[in-house]
Symmetry: C2
Amino acid sequence: MKNQRIVLASRPKGEPKQSDFRIEEIDVPAPVDGEVLLRTLYLSLDPYMRGRMSDAKSYAKPVEVGEVMEGGTVAEVISSKHAGLSPGDIVLSYSGWQQYSTASTGLRKLDPSVGPVSTALGVLGMPGMTAYTGLLTIGQPKEGETVCVAAATGPVGSMVGQIAKIKKCRTVGIAGGEEKCRALIEEFGFDVAVDHRSANFAEQLKTACPSGIDVYFENVGGEVWSAVLPLLNDFARVLVCGLIAHYSATELPAGPDRTPDLMMRILRQRLTLRGFIVTDFADQASAFHRDVVQWIKQGQIKYREDIVEGLEAAPEAFIGLLRGKNFGKLVVRVTSEGQSHCAQGEPT
Amino acid sequence: MKNQRIVLASRPKGEPKQSDFRIEEIDVPAPVDGEVLLRTLYLSLDPYMRGRMSDAKSYAKPVEVGEVMEGGTVAEVISSKHAGLSPGDIVLSYSGWQQYSTASTGLRKLDPSVGPVSTALGVLGMPGMTAYTGLLTIGQPKEGETVCVAAATGPVGSMVGQIAKIKKCRTVGIAGGEEKCRALIEEFGFDVAVDHRSANFAEQLKTACPSGIDVYFENVGGEVWSAVLPLLNDFARVLVCGLIAHYSATELPAGPDRTPDLMMRILRQRLTLRGFIVTDFADQASAFHRDVVQWIKQGQIKYREDIVEGLEAAPEAFIGLLRGKNFGKLVVRVTSEGQSHCAQGEPT
């Protein structure tokens, strides 16, 4: 039995290309004592993966060239030498861009009765928890405040807007294109949506925020941040969660150097800017899960998944993600759930 | 009796010049019911006053052209129609750059037995409280961490370093010139001092911070900030308290635009940058006073005053302050305490 996997072929210069990835087939690994053999059902594709492809200093070490690409996965236990897991169990794992893997730790058994197991990679997973912990712990939105979020149809942004609405804030979503902006209002209940591809985006954003911005959830950077900055109110909180506009940049933008302008605004307006990685808030996992499961049941939180078929489609889908092409939580269906169940019967 | 005062003659373009100030003489005002007549003993000169000379949007409204320059003062009550104050009382007031003023509110009676009354403008006043509340509330230094402070011989910076030392941190002070750097070690007990005028300043700072920087107290900006930024540790706290390098800037520095670099560092290293104005922390005044009076008595806090003589010397002293020429808390002796006491006997 062969394991198809995708490895980093070369470190991208600028935007990643198909040739920066390589599909390989190797033997399926055999689990040792304490391990399970996993077959991947769903692979999560997320912007942070662009960081792992680079060897710039960051909060996590990079994927080495020739190594399998990292990523969160939902997988089925095929065979088990692990005391707590049995064949057929569905787990959240961090198996990366491949069909099969072995693991002994970092596994969480999923309850399929809660909802589609793929949600463990989205609304009930890392992106959902990023929105929840970031907005509530750092953003601390108060009733009546204006909460603005970039990349608002993404799995983090759409959740930020909906939680802010539950907290009785005015919500302003920024997204690219008319279709996404319509969905912000109709699907995710934002008060206003602003299209960052509009020629007069900065002006539209100003109009959309007549009382300024109290909490800004940054997922983008670049021109979006330039338009938000002048609208921040005194004591505004800026969560720096993602900067997708800069991940593939090969050089700094042309001058002048606007750093002093930013620093002067921080001082005069007593702004807080805080960088934020969800793994720093692992202790909030159970509160997150309890609240969000309830909000979904009550219809207060909606989510959208964008599922692409087959591991080999992952590189193109990831490249599209960085360009803002997808809509909703991007997930690769590596093995269909039915197929995997059948596979249990195979001799391993 | 005449009141000599200094008014804003014109809004400075770039660095303030003598001609941006004008000395005037007007009649001494007469106190109405509820007011005291004050004679200024000491006038505090502080970098924030540069902001008041400009009409750029800020946290406080600007001084208008033709108005008396604002400023904190220590003054003696000359005559009183105020229930709580009597002639001879010494008060902290906000009388500005003038010899006489009337006031009914914003006065705090000083106890001259605690120390020189001029300290109410420095170590026991606004600069001291800026250091105390900023460092302890926002910086939250932990034992063994490295605390770095810019403009470290100033009344804020020297206090930050000494409080950080009381909290068992490693303290790194940045100042301009050998004499100031020597004093940082010998007078204020910093562990290391680095001269930002050295040709290889950034390199020296790096050597001075072998374990990086956990808390940075920003009073300066510009090249100092550029040298500090790469040394910040994950989860570092940056208090943006002052940006003296930028107050008189008439344009942004040449490119490239380094904003994305700053934002990426905030994200990857989960930095917190927070702007900070002492008046937002007024509720900590009594804790500040209690702690600092005790620390001074125990010899754990030292301070230095730089006293210039006569109100007419204020503009030149203030221009020098912005250029880093003075050393210690800059105060103008407007009336000597003795003279003022004699003056009590005069008919008013």
